[in-house]
Subunit: 467 residues, 4 copies
């Protein structure tokens, strides 16, 4: 277990190219910027005059595509996907985009999120004779879309119906012979932004993918909104049943999204920085230095330092080559192996009272190891401050969370957690404190993993994790 983090499960990207831009390379660089949202498989599909050509494989974006493949993926529109998944479904068959042939020609879909009634819908469809070749929600959506399309005159009308049937979180990009479509679930749980470059339209899970492409961020796709791009009509927007209260995933700001991304008009880094300030206000402590756990704790550590006046130091060297597949250390070396990933910088720690800032504690195992690293490096006290509230409940909306019994905050008191992770004190940001860091964001938030109160009905209890 190299990493004790919740896992984002997908990133999506789409281009409708009205200029002479290189479609496949735009998608490629877009996916490269979204790589943090999924490292297990990646795919690009382009629309070459109604025929969809595509390539999807297990692995990282930079390893799958080369110039030959990108030259082959020639088209005026294109979509892409990066995916992480739980072990069980790590099959190339589940890689996206899903490319299908239906009554109106070829179609490709890419999906980030998780349907909470997918199993029920699958069983209903199977009972009508539908066959499934993957375990992805995309295939459920495609099967529903294809059936709905028979009744309606356009794919977008069909999508309106499908969105009234599916429940849960989704950010979708869909490519048909003549259109590029983006849509978000009625609660807007997963991010999806729209940009423009000259006359071309671009959609992405995060705005960080726009910067390298010179794409201007226009706005977020609204909760429940369907945006259709076509040659004839340019951009059209359809607003389906938007909820009164939206419910953007809090963890996008806390951990998943890249800090340089702007989601719902709020820069992610700014929210993290503010969380550090709030943490100091809620859980002040006397200490000599502040250390952020790289990389996810650094933003809040800066905020904590600014608010407290305690100096922020570089406490750890992170091995930048960790992340590649890596031989698991044999028994004798396992405990030491955390040093392979993070090694303390002794001069900054030795003899100091340390405040260690991290974004979250999931199982607690890694936290204990890092606290111990600090102690070995000479820290006299270690005070852990966490920029998210205690994670006590599973996520049903596209985040891979461990079983509840493995969530340390679900099964232990604060004092127990402190002892288990060997800290002198531990302080979590409060839910209210967290929400205050989102000021300025044009949405409301899901805090289900902290409270167990989910915005959407959970139809299929097992609908957890990645589908």
């Amino acid at each position: 277990m190299w990493q004790d983090k919740l896992q984002e499960e997908c990133g999506v990207f789409g281009v409708y190219n009205n200029n002479e831009f290189d479609t496949s390379r735009m998608v490629y660089y877009g996916l490269f910027a979204l790589q943090h949202r999924g490292q297990e498989s990646a795919g690009i599909a382009v629309n070459n005059n109604g025929t969809i050509v595509y390539r999807k494989e297990m692995g990282m974006v930079a390893d799958i595509f080369d110039d030959n493949v990108l030259d082959y993926l020639n088209g005026h529109s294109g979509i892409g996907h990066v995916r992480y998944s739980t072990t069980g479904s790590s099959l190339v068959e589940n890689a996206q985009p899903l490319v299908i042939k239906y009554t109106k020609g070829h179609m490709a879909l890419a999906h980030n999120g998780n349907l909470t009634n997918a199993d029920t819908l699958r069983k209903e469809l199977e009972a009508k004779g539908t066959i499934f070749q993957t375990t992805t929600d995309s295939e459920v959506i495609a099967a529903l879309l294809s059936r709905a399309r028979i009744k309606y005159n356009s794919i977008e009308e069909a999508l309106v119906e499908v969105m009234s049937i599916i429940k849960g979180a989704y950010a979708l990009v869909i490519m048909t012979p003549h259109k590029l479509i983006a849509a978000r679930d009625p609660f807007g749980m997963r991010p999806l932004v729209m940009g423009k470059k000259e006359d071309s339209f671009v959609f992405s899970s995060e705005s960080c993918a726009f910067d390298a492409l010179g794409v201007d961020l226009v706005r977020d796709v609204d909760p429940g909104e369907i945006i259709v791009i076509s040659k004839e009509k340019g951009l059209e927007s359809i607003q389906t049943n938007k909820k009164k209260q939206s419910a953007m995933c809090s963890f996008e700001y806390i951990y998943f999204a890249r800090p340089d991304s702007v989601i719902e008009s709020l820069e992610v880094y700014e929210a993290r920085f503010r969380a550090g300030k709030v943490l100091f206000e809620e859980h002040p402590v006397e200490a000599d230095v502040i250390v952020g756990v790289p990389d996810s704790g650094l933003g809040a550590a800066h905020g904590f330092a600014a608010a407290s006046g305690i100096p922020l130091v570089d406490g750890f060297m992170k091995n930048r080559y960790v992340g590649r597949t890596f031989i698991a250390p044999s028994q004798g070396l396992r405990e030491l192996a955390v040093h392979l990933k993070l090694n303390p910088i002794r001069s900054q720690i030795n003899g100091k009272r340390v405040i260690m800032i991290d974004d979250s504690i999931v199982r607690g195992t890694t936290s204990r190891r890092i606290v111990n690293l600090l102690r070995e490096a000479g820290a006299t006290e270690v005070h852990v401050r966490v920029s998210s509230p205690p994670v006590k409940y599973s996520c049903y909306f596209g985040i891979d969370t461990p079983e509840r019994e493995n969530l340390i905050a679900s099964t232990h008191s604060l004092d127990e957690i402190r002892d288990l992770i060997c800290a002198d004190s531990v302080g979590y940001i409060s839910r209210e404190g967290l929400l205050s860091t989102f000021k300025g964001a044009g949405c409301e938030f899901c805090t289900g993993c902290f409270t167990g109160n989910y915005p959407v009905e959970i139809v299929d209890e097992e609908a957890k994790g990645c589908q």
Copy 2:
């Protein structure tokens, strides 16, 4: 163009293991023996207590599977497939077996043949909302099966209905959570044999796959027959609408099947040997030596030699490494490059009048090159004898034939052919002569590629070649 042959398009294999045999390795060696029926992709699926695990990839059997994969493919029943296809659909998505989830759990299908109404059926299914992810007939069959299964109590009843809908040639093996099913089209156009090893049942496109496994050949699956193997009932047979006249593909005996296979109780080699005898009777010629074009012309060459008394010699050395992907020779070397594949053995040819025996002439280009090889090696005359009648019509039943305008016999007279291939004389076996070589086979034959008279209605004109 290294080879000017018609191309078989698939081989199927299946095992229902009631013993302690190693299922995945049985399928592996079975596919290895069937490799000649398709070298583009291969796949194995096994049924592990109702869950189907599988691996399919582009490439040769020996390159795709290793011990780790075969250990992983653990199950009590298994099916496999080797595939060749026309360039257009050389996608890993089209590799078989097709593995699906439907209302009754997982199912895997492997198919050899070609449906003649697949496009029509696809359009009908699409009009009802079905999506397709491949261009294989297997997916059409699976979609129909899944829909039919709702109406009936068993998969075999559903298959009876599906077989009343689909038209064309097929040899199918289907694996469900509890059954292994084999079926042939009503005309029995593609071969499919059944064997037993102790209490276990085995199906294969050809019996040659049985020999290396110690499997006893029991019989051919009958035209229109469905054989169901299950734990509870052992073997059951359902006879659907068998035709009065069956129509086994003539080319299975002429070229596709391995000579050591026994199809419909007739050893393939024996039919080829007889064809040489008939050729001599129909087209005798004075000459010094007989040369068979390796490897497909050798059986008939032996028969011609036995009948004529003219000595059969080894006229060519065939490079046994041809067949691997190979850099196409640059312009200057192209004409010489036939020597890379076949090189004449001068001592056997020089100064001799040669009878050259081949199994077929398709485009004629390769024949001309081989005749010229013989002349360069000193042959004073070259008389070409062909153990199939002139190929004038396309096949719609699973064989990849060139467009009619590229079939030399479709557009040229016998004299023109002789001149085009630079021969001194050319003689084809007659249709009647060919049919006489099949004596003892328990079936009738399709000779559509010679006559244009097909046993089955061709619904979709474009339904040619590999689907």
Copy 3:
């Protein structure tokens, strides 16, 4: 050009295992920690009772070795190497360790550094009939060692002679059937440390490799010292002609070494932090925020912040997947592509006067891009501070430097540099300031790339860069 940095060219590692540790995995994790010293090729050789088995390949440590290979590399001692090289010699033949057979059996060598008289020595050896199969200095050393070994009773005596012949920088580990040997050049230009774990001896280019293995740092190998480990005699040290003044490469502290490494008793991070302080003292400037260029400018940025009281902010998001092979952006996207690597965090920059801290400016191209990133993100002023003096001269001792005409500081005045990189001001640390940051290190320093005064005679003018 994704990176405008000087390039380290090698890392070495060695284990003499007197315990039951897993030799090959110790080397593997050691190399993994040294990966930053060379990403082009890697190799491990182990001594299995006098026979040396090895594996070396192009690529990263984690991609080359797997459990099977490490199990195969079974032995009681082992050495490893990571390598970067200039393009010209990116051949697998040049990967190290070099494994040879000579009169006393097998021997393996791994080398970090660069000989300045290698070409002369090669020519002398060739004139005596020696053949060379690589372009590495290791092969020159091996050829000399092998010849010297004939005259002497031991490999270490032979090495004493060889060290009197070769000139330049080297940190060597050598494995013979019965010994493990480590040696440094008389000026101690490249680092090499010794550690112990129980009864086993370990050598490494940097101490960071010890932490993950539970190895205790004992001391640096001395300039001109040869350390011999053997079963019989344990550790022996031979001091050859040590120079009065040693000359450790300044850039090891400035940029190459990992900040958590301790070289000559001084933690690298501490030197970098001090450099920031000195920079502030030498080049103070009024500003709102300090931004360190990730990752190499961060240590000095912390020091500058501590000294100046100006807040250090996270100015950039670095894409952690850059570093993998990567498709070069097409023309239209090239200027934007720096965003793929570094993207500014607008909230921290916008409307601010920024001090940007980097460790060095080589060509200046990347600096200009990064300054412009800050301006695009809203910086009102950008003051560049550099924690190394201007790099004006080539390195001959194992660092890949551009031609002098491409070193911006070699051909331009400070004002020109400021204008070329679009900064409002630019300030380099002075040579004296830099040397003051090394206080506590048990050595003197080479500053040849700043001054052109090299500690060693440069015999072969072309002896630059990686050999």
Copy 4:
């Protein structure tokens, strides 16, 4: 053990291109035609104006090289090599050509054969300080050449000296900045032929490589001859100490060489055909059919048929995909697995008295299996006839032979052999009979593996098999 044959160990090829031919592709196709002489590794080196660029890897010719590599291997001369080796030295380091730098620039060598005093020479060279990086004889030759070159004015004079030192079998091609050199050992034990295409010179182990390139076979390189091709002087020949009696390897005609090759003016196939005739004369037997074991027994089978009047039939179907790496059959299937390679064609065997012709019996295990295949297929008698005398002694000249105790003829009487291989009778061709089949060849022959009398002194007893 899929194959019980002696193993050839190398093929060499060289081009000196005075025309505008594509050098690297000529070598590529040449090696492709020589692939049967070594399937373990292959390499091509070309001389690009004095710099040698090369690629060598484990694997087959068609798998190693692609158009990109061949385009990169641009030069006016080039040499290539295919290699088989015993397991112990299956290292990429041993792949050839060997490319070195020496006092006169770059040089590449490719070698077929085996030196019988290589170990002695290595020790002598090592005692003088030479280091070795491979276990190939080529490296010994290169080391000697490089030393000798110092004393002489030309590489060819140096080679004359080296050829007076090395003992054993060798066919060499050497490429220097300005020359292409071919040489054979004084006994001419391994074949090497010269061809011309317009003004360009080509050397090859066998003439079969010429046919696909339109190269005219000029003559064999003579035993002890050195042929030097250069721009200035065209072709020069130096005759070193040619022996009175040459000693070409008998097994080149019996088994190794391709039947379409012409060696020493005798077509290989012709010798094999004659051997069948002699076999009949020496060991006639009454029978119904003759079966040749594919592929190596077919030539003699034709000869036996011609002499005896007994009809030759196709007794076996050989799986043309055997030869690829292949999963070894698990215990239960091992005995059956011979069917995967060879399957009897029952109609030709059943009820017949069979004469089975093979080229040699080495261990006898495969022969027993094949005899049993025939019996299972219904043969009433099986009479084995072998077109080489009993193999009783090891080869020291480049052929991989088992230890003597594993040679069935070395340890068993003829009657025992007959019983061990389950034959009704067994007959080997006599040594005299074999020699009579070589009539017309311009050389004498080595029959050491039959008689133990070798033409050359065996200096190093262990100098067996592949070096």
